[in-house]
Amino acid sequence: MADQTLDAKGLNCPLPILKAKKALKGMQAGQVLEVLSTDPGSVADFAAFCNQTGNELLKSETAGDVYTFEIKKT
């Protein structure tokens, strides 16, 4: 499903967001970026990031200690 995956596990705020932004920059509109994170704050942060930038948050899931996000670039 995802066109690209960013492993941000072990990184703390604001690195998952900064790295996601960088990855999205190199992608085409309509493509999906999957982000893996272990930072509990990233759940609220990716929602806010997508809300503000207009990118679509397709998925925000928790499995154990890992949070998975899918962001569709608009």
Partner: protein, 165 residues
């Protein structure tokens, strides 16, 4: 993505402090705002100018920081002001902080500053502070502009968020 220049949100931050701990809030907020398509100006004045030096040698001080606690040997160590008077304590606290930063996956200040440059954050160094402390622009990183209070005000007046740190 915002395409109309009129819709672009703007933020300014005045940075007045130059210790390792105080370097975090402005660089974290600045880089994150830029990632959220906000146009950011960072104005470095007084001790904040230390954060623009090519050679970053940032330290923390336990002095005047009674709320500071650091995890050590399975407990949290308080830092009473009197402790700062002991030679080597600030250096030890700085080393402990840097180790924690690495261990917890927190970005380093050089990394965050690099991210700030990459995301086109406008960085302004206070000309008056350079004169006052006899600092040389050659010791500061490239790509910064020099300016004064009027430069800051011009940007601040059209900003949605103005922070003083």
């Amino acid at each position: 993505m915002l395409d109309s220049a009129d819709n672009t949100k703007k933020m300014s931050i005045i940075i007045t402090k130059g210790t390792l701990d105080w370097a975090y809030p402005p660089f974290i907020l600045g880089t994150t705002a830029a990632a959220m398509d906000v146009e950011v100006t960072m104005f470095f004045t007084f001790y904040g100018l230390q954060l623009l030096k090519k050679d970053l040698d940032l330290k923390i001080s336990t002095l005047g920081n009674p709320a500071m606690e650091m995890p050590m040997m399975g407990m949290h160590m308080k830092m009473p002001n009197i402790v700062s008077a002991i030679p080597g304590v600030d250096r030890m606290a700085t080393t402990m902080m840097k180790n924690l930063i690495k261990k917890k996956g927190v970005a380093s200040i050089p990394d965050l500053r690099e991210a700030a440059i990459e995301s086109d954050i406008k960085m302004v160094a206070c000309q008056m502070t350079l004169d006052l402390f006899e600092m040389d622009q050659k010791d500061l990183i490239d790509g910064i502009t020099l300016g004064g209070a009027a430069t800051y005000m011009e940007g601040a007046l059209e900003s949605d968020i103005n922070l003083f740190i």
